[in-house]
Symmetry: C2
Subunit: 272 residues, 2 copies
Amino acid sequence: MTDTIDRRALLTLGALLAASAAVPDFANAETLEEHMRSMMEIPKDAPKVAMLIYPKMVALDLIGPMTVFTLMRFDVQLVWKDKTPVSTDVRIPFTATQTFDECPKDLDVLFVPGGILGTVDCMNDLDVCAFLADRGSRAKWVTSVCTGGLIIAAAGLLKGYDATAYWPVADLLPLMGARHVDKRVVRDRNRMTGGGVTAGIDFALTLAAEMRGEEAARRAQLIIEYSPEPPFANGTPREAGPERVAATLERRKGMDGRARVAAEAAGKRLGI
Amino acid sequence: MTDTIDRRALLTLGALLAASAAVPDFANAETLEEHMRSMMEIPKDAPKVAMLIYPKMVALDLIGPMTVFTLMRFDVQLVWKDKTPVSTDVRIPFTATQTFDECPKDLDVLFVPGGILGTVDCMNDLDVCAFLADRGSRAKWVTSVCTGGLIIAAAGLLKGYDATAYWPVADLLPLMGARHVDKRVVRDRNRMTGGGVTAGIDFALTLAAEMRGEEAARRAQLIIEYSPEPPFANGTPREAGPERVAATLERRKGMDGRARVAAEAAGKRLGI
C-alpha cells in the first residue's frame, strides 16, 4: 500500500515539477509519464528539510510551506516521535516519514507548524524540546509558522532573536527570550518565523528566495498563482479593529492561558 | 485507530472553533477540554459540503478551502470512488470519508480541487463526471479551484456560465461551454470558481461571506491571519511577464496538451 501511494505521489510530484524545470516538450504519452517519474526524483544534494508534525496541529500551517518546498525539489520529511497518524484541525491525519531517531543530525531546514492545544503539549514536552534543541543547534535554518514559534522558543531556539508568531499569542515570545517583531515574516540571522496560518506561504517563498535565489522563488510563486486578493481587509488585529480582536481574544482565554503557563515554565527552564 | 484520531481531531477542531464562537472563558482545565469537545460538534443544520479528492491532486487546493469551511463549522466530507488513500503532490495521502454512493444526494456545496494529470484522468472518467453532474444538478453551490474548474466543466456544470481556472489551462474552459473571465474568483449565479492553488483561500472566504454573511467571513479571516504579503509581484502571468510565462508554458506542454484533448472530448460529449 505504502509503495503504491509513493509511486502515485511520484507521478504527481513529477507533473508539478515539470512546470518548474527546464525540460523539453513531450508529445508522446509514455514519454511524458517517464519524464514525470524522472523529474520527481529528489536530487541527491537537495536541502534536507525536517517538518515537525504533532497531534492537534493546524494542517494549513504545514501544507502551505510544504507545497513550496516540494516545488523547490527539497528533500522534505515529516518528523514525529513515532509513525502513529497525528490529528489535524481539518481531520485529515498526517503520518511521520521519519521518527526523531531517524531524522538526520544535520538539517538544512528545521520547521515547526502551529496548533493551539497541540502547541501547548509540545511546549511542555521535554522530549520534543530536546529533539528540536539538538537539531536546531546545527540546522542551517530554524523556522516556524503560527504558534509553532512558541514551540521553537520553548526549545530555547529563539533566545536573543527577533521573531514573530500567531497574533493572539505573539506576546508570549519574550517570556522565552525572543524579541517580538510585529511583521508577517521575521528573519534574524538563521531564524525565520512567520505569523499565523496563511503566513506560511509568504514565509516559504521568502525562505525559498534566500536559499535558491529570487528567480526560483518567483517561478514557484507563478506556479501556485500567488497573487492574493482577500475579500476583506481583516487579516490582522489592526485591520480587524479593537472590537473583533477583543471578542476573539475573549473566546481564546482558556487556550492562551495555558500557552502562557507553558511559556513561563519554558522561560524558567531557559533561565530567563 | 480511526476512533482515536477522530476524537483527537475533535479536540483540535474545538480549539479552533472556540476562537470563532461566542463562548464563556474557561479557567478550569477540564472544563476547557469539555468545552472544546462540545464546540467541535457539527451543528445538525450545518451546510453539507462534499469535496472531491482524487489521485494526483494538489493538497493545497483542498486544504485552503477546507480550513475555512471547518472554521465555519460546515459538515465537510471528502468524497471519492472508494476509501483507498489517494496521492497528493506533497506525498501526504488523503482518504475519502464518503464514497460516491454514500455522498448525500442534496448538497449545499460541491467542490473540486485541481491536480494536473489527476485532473485529466477525472475529465476522461465518465463515472466521475456522472457523479459530479448528478450532485451538481441539485447542489446549492457548484465550486472549484485551480484545474478543478476543468473537471466540473467536463461534467457539463459550467455550460453557459462565467468561470475561471488555473492560468495555464483556463483557455480550455470555452471548449466545454464556459466563458473564461480573467479574475481570481468568479461567481455566476450558483457557480463559484477560483484561480490556481492559493486562490482557494480567497475563494473560500468569498463563499463563506455569501453563505454566512460578511461578519462571519471576516472572523475566519482574522483567525487564519490572512493579510498576505507575497515577497514578489509574480503570482499572475501579467505580473510575471511574458518571458517567465512562456518558459512555464513550454515546460507544461505535455500536460496541457493532454488537458486540451480531454477538454475537446468533453466538449463533444456536451454537444459544444
